[in-house]
């Protein structure tokens, strides 16, 4: 044991550069997985804390399952349950504050809480730091915390302006409570009556806070159960989970990052496998000697596994440390953004024990697994090897072996799968294609090297560097193949993703024009988090309609509901006005009659994500909970637009939204002008009206379209950078193989120098070899990437999430070729220098 550990450590230490490069591959994979997985739990934690924060201080909380406000009548039924001491029906709502709304300080969102003062005080303790508590007769009066007062530099008696459905309203501060200590939005308390007016929810509440008359745990459970039985299926115990739709899309992002991390580790595995194979070849003498003087086979396996273990442990540890840094960096760096746009207060980075365990198992596991086969091979080295002179082995056996045939079969199967157009066969084919290509790689090395070698020959014609490089590669085809495969995976992902993204971008552009094609838009602070956008009541739309020159105004209203675990955003539109200013991209149902049908009875137009997750088609019926009980809606059509691409949502008529959900608040508006309208005049008039509703931003459709486009471009370019980083292990792979080749051929290089090769010629041989390797990997990568990109586009299209058109990723191909060649040249620098600087005498003596 001890001797193996000593030897492993010494060998690793003895080849510092190689150890570093190999370990780097593990570090990188662990880094991505660990770092990226810190973010989501941190956000979940923040999210849960704010929910807990809201519900934690009372004994029991009752809300409607749809998430919407309801009539307070249910409180009478709860009141009469034995054990219920007091209860308070509140109307709580997060309201997004537009950027720069307050001059004196920055606030992303506020939590508006309407309470009945007497009831509220019986349920919770409202100790005042300054001023007084609310009174029933109060209008335009509010209580805030001292921390909000500090942020906005407000004193007792000052006025706090908030956006409401009637426009901006000023509330007088009558009391100040202790500072907010937990994460979450700053609360602003006002009377229930006033809150109902300002939020356009007459006679509605959305949470009931209940205080029980006992502290005995068993009794409390019994009372809670009694409450649950009384309120029935439409209500739930527990707080409102606002923002759960964002957690869902975050989870998707998380999965993408995880996939990237796994792929990086997978490439790391390739690199380690390659390195270990070389180490075994290089140390045949040492191994043979150890066997001769009495080391058993298990001792030899152990020696190599220890080396793997050491690298795995160190690589994983460093990767985790760096990953933690990345996590902290992301959390800290985006804290402001989350606060501003998602209105979520992030706490300290959260690391789940499960993640630590998983990362360690993955990091160390991949290293050990990759070392297993080479270690086994090492144990087969006979003691005789110690006595043979050191000759670099040349693989001469024919490469058309069984694995080549398996590779060909797999690739043919993949192509058949593609032709079948059956989506699961196509997906399976994608995997088969990659594995098949990797298996086929060794057989392809020679022909590909010949083709590229001939091309290189034109450049390096005079000194034979190209021929030497080609010969060097083809004498170890399996090593070259593994290196090329590692490069292939990195570049294939790049090409595939670019293909997919350019297809998505094409689709989104079509959608954007359809959705945002109106002349003017009234945009709330946050598109997507409709629930916390304060809209306007009907008067705003009426005023806009009355402007001379405006031909159509379409408004959008919002409510949520939950089917199973799935939150659905319900977007209320006017079936007559909406088609005039906007449009949807239909994938099921009849576009011509869909809006007419929406006006009749209870019907909805579901988006692609919804249709997929809820497994519904046009003509199906769906039962959705509402504050008025469960309602049955018919799926009229499946259609998407830009506003709801990511989240499950459905369009219903405003009439139905009002009847079932009591929502009449307009959160988004689109306007069209008459053809002969005086643009400047209308513009001025609209600006004037909208100025009274600071929560809205009036933008021209064209300007907004451009803004959205550049937003997409920006977010996708960030994605491209990530993909580029993911290709980094391929650089390590090439570098590693070259460095190993140089070490292994030390004596040959010495001989070349002795018989008259200049340093420059040696350098160029290595460079040519690097470019050949990179070209091979790039060729494989392009092939696999184009295939995968096409498959993914087909898959997404079939799932109906997005309407896509496959577009050939020219940019991706160019980027992959450029990156591949760049990596080739970069990887050559160190080994070429090392080879060129070699001392001839020492090189010739090298053992």
């Amino acid at each position: 044991m001890k001797i193996q550990l000593t030897l492993a450590a010494r060998y690793l230490w003895g080849r510092k550069l190689r150890t570093f490069l190999t370990t780097l591959a593990i570090i990188f994979g662990v880094f991505v997985i660990f770092g990226m997985n810190i973010l989501l739990p941190t956000m979940t934690h923040a999210f849960e804390t704010s929910v807990l924060n809201a519900s934690g201080q009372v004994d029991v909380l009752v809300t409607n399952k749809s998430g919407e406000a309801f009539a307070p009548s249910i409180m009478h039924r709860i009141e009469s349950i034995p054990g219920v001491q007091a209860l308070s029906g509140n109307l709580e709502r997060t309201i997004n504050i537009p950027a720069n709304y307050y001059r004196s300080g920055s606030v992303g969102a506020l939590s508006l809480i309407g309470i009945v003062p007497r009831d509220a005080q019986q349920v919770r303790d409202y100790t005042m730091q300054k001023g007084r508590f609310l009174q029933n007769t109060d209008t335009r009066a509010a209580i805030i915390t001292s921390s909000l007062a500090d942020t906005l530099k407000l004193e007792l008696g000052d006025e706090l302006s908030i956006p409401t459905v009637n426009g901006a309203v000023k509330l007088k501060i009558v009391g100040i409570r202790a500072a907010q200590t937990l994460p979450g939005n700053e609360p602003v308390w006002l009377t229930l009556n006033e809150a109902q007016k300002l939020l356009n929810a007459p006679n509605r509440i959305n949470t009931i806070e209940i205080k029980l008359d006992t502290t005995d745990a068993a009794q409390r459970t019994a009372i809670s159960n009694a409450i649950a039985a009384t309120i029935g299926d439409e209500y739930q115990l527990g707080g409102l989970a606002s923002g759960s739709e964002f957690m869902a899309s975050l989870q998707t992002a998380q999965q993408i990052f995880n996939l990237m991390g796994f792929l990086a580790l997978f490439m790391g595995g390739f690199i380690i496998f390659n390195t270990f194979r070389t180490i075994v070849a290089e140390r045949r003498h040492d191994i043979g000697m150890l066997r001769a003087i009495g080391a058993g086979r298990r001792t030899i396996i152990g020696l190599f596994l220890f080396e793997g273990l050491l690298q795995g442990v160190v690589g994983t540890a460093i990767g985790m440390a760096l990953g933690y840094g990345l996590g902290v960096l992301i959390v800290e760096g985006t804290r402001g953004i989350y606060q501003q746009f998602l209105h979520m207060q992030l706490g300290a980075p959260v690391i789940e024990p499960g993640l630590v365990l998983l990362t360690i198992v993955l990091g160390v596991g991949v290293t050990l697994l990759s070392g297993l086969v080479p270690a086994w091979n090492a144990s087969r080295v006979t003691p005789m090897e110690a006595l043979r002179p050191n000759v670099v082995t040349v693989e001469t056996r024919r490469r058309l072996n069984k694995w080549t045939i398996v590779g060909i079969v797999l690739m043919v199967a993949a192509l058949v799968g593609l032709l079948s157009q059956n989506i699961s066969l196509v997906a399976l084919g994608g995997f088969a294609f990659l594995v098949g290509l990797a298996l086929l790689a060794p057989a392809l090395v020679k022909p590909i090297a010949q083709v590229f070698g001939a091309m290189l020959g034109f450049i390096f014609a005079r000194d034979g560097a190209a021929e030497l490089a080609q010969g060097n590669l083809t004498r170890q085809p399996s090593r070259a193949a593994i290196t090329a495969s590692a490069t292939m995976i990195g570049l294939a992902i790049l090409v595939a993703a670019v293909g997919l993204i350019s297809s998505i971008t094409g689709g989104i552009n079509t959608l954007l024009e359809k959705t945002l094609g109106s002349d003017y838009l009234l945009v709330p602070p946050s598109i997507g988090v409709w629930g916390s956008d304060v809209g306007a009541d009907e008067t705003l739309a009426e005023r806009l309609r009355s402007v001379y020159g405006v031909s159509a105004v379409s408004t959008m209203r919002f409510a949520t509901t939950t089917v199973g675990d799935q939150t659905i955003n319900l977007l209320g539109i006017d079936p007559v006005e909406f088609p005039k200013v906007s449009g949807l991209n239909f994938s099921e149902g009849d576009p011509n009659t869909a809006f007419e049908q929406l006006a009749k009875g209870r019907g909805l137009i579901l988006n692609g994500v919804g249709a997929t997750t809820l497994k519904l088609h046009a003509g199906d019926a769906i039962k959705i909970p509402s504050p008025e009980g469960e309602q049955t809606y018919r799926v009229i059509a499946v259609a998407s637009d830009v506003l709801n691409t990511k989240i499950t949502s459905a369009y219903i008529s405003q009439e139905n939204l009002k009847r079932d959900f009591h929502k009449t608040e307009d959160v988004f508006m689109q306007l069209n002008l008459a053809p002969n309208a005086n643009r400047a005049e209308v513009d001025a008039r609209l600006q004037e009206i909208v100025a009274r509703y600071p929560q809205f931003k009036l933008v021209s459709g064209a300007a907004y379209l451009n803004e959205m486009r550049s937003l997409y471009t920006t977010s996708f370019s960030a994605f491209y950078i990530l993909l580029g980083i993911l290709a980094l292990p391929s650089l390590i792979a090439i570098l590693n193989t070259l460095a190993i080749g140089v070490i292994e051929r030390t004596r040959e290089i010495g001989m070349l120098r002795a018989i008259g090769a200049t340093r420059k010629q040696v350098r160029r041989t290595i460079l040519a070899e690097a470019i050949l390797l990179a070209a091979m990997g790039t060729a494989f990568g392009l092939l696999a990437g184009l295939y995968l990109g096409y498959v993914m586009t087909l898959g997404l299209n079939a799932s109906g999430l997005y309407p896509l058109q496959y577009s050939f990723p020219y940019a991706g191909v160019v980027a992959a070729v450029a990156l591949g060649l760049l990596f080739g040249v970069l990887a050559a620098i160190l080994p070429a220098r090392q080879a060129a600087r070699m001392d001839i005498i020492q090189a010739l003596r090298y053992e």
């Binding site: 003087i293 080391a295 005789m384």
Partner: protein, 247 residues
């Protein structure tokens, strides 16, 4: 009783038309404490004989017995154990582990046998001192001269107290002076420390340090000479015999 005994030992490489007979029914005996040199022209099978005696390679037919144990009957693990405990090896190219220092290299066989590191290293130091390397205990192979590296290899071969030391061209990579020192040291291994030593060499001057010379040609034993004070200058005698073989 002989320490090593071979019976009709044969080794054929390859098969069919390309078959090469490296050893053909060789019978040799080596006594405890005896220093035997194996000589012969290139390709005569002398290294093959050494490998078979050392259990590094398996014979095509015939057998090798060490202390009356037939190597052919042993599993790979048992054979490995035998090499570890009964045999010490000295190679032409020294074959030291480049990343370990002299003490660690010399201690390897004992460490591989599961001995405590402290104990193994103490013994390694002892042997290194005996072979004259007390000042270079913590040098790595690349900091040692060829002769010094070979001394480390000899210390390594002796550290597990084996009965037999096998040396394959131990002086092949050394200059004349170092070669003489190493040959003298091997003589001491047999004479003073009582191990049997089998050494393959093509250098008559080095072979002259042995008690007995076995001459091989085309895989068979063609002559055997016991060197003693009676037949005068050993090297001269050996040269004469070699020349006769070459004809």
């Amino acid at each position: 009783m002989s320490l090593v005994q071979t019976e009709n030992l044969a080794k054929i490489y390859g098969s069919g038309e390309t078959a090469v007979t490296a050893l053909d029914r060789v019978n040799v005996k080596i006594d405890a404490g005896e220093f035997v040199a194996v000589m012969g022209p290139s390709g005569c099978g002398k290294s093959t004989l050494l490998h078979l005696i050392g259990g590094l390679d398996r014979p095509t037919s015939g057998k090798v017995c060490i202390e009356n144990v037939s190597l052919g009957d042993l599993s790979d693990d048992k054979l490995t154990e035998l090499r570890r405990r009964k045999i010490g090896f000295v190679f032409q190219f020294f074959n030291l582990i480049p990343v370990l220092d002299a003490v660690e290299n010399a201690a390897l066989p004992m460490m591989l046998d599961g001995a405590k590191a402290a104990q193994a290293k103490a013994r390694a130091r002892e042997w290194l001192t005996r072979v004259g390397l007390e000042n270079r205990l913590h040098s790595r192979p690349d900091q040692l001269s060829g002769g010094q590296q070979q001394r480390v290899a000899i210390a390594r071969a002796l550290v597990a107290e084996p009965a037999l030391v096998l040396a394959d061209e131990p002086t092949g990579n050394l200059d004349t002076r170092a070669a003489d020192e190493i040959a003298g040291l091997l003589r001491q291994v047999a004479e003073a420390w009582g191990r049997s030593v089998v050494m393959v060499t093509h250098d008559p001057r080095i072979a002259a340090y042995a008690d007995r010379i076995v001459f091989l040609k085309d895989g068979t034993v063609v002559d055997e000479t016991r060197l003693n004070s009676q037949n005068g200058n050993g090297a001269q005698v050996i040269r004469g015999k070699m020349n006769a073989l070459a004809e």
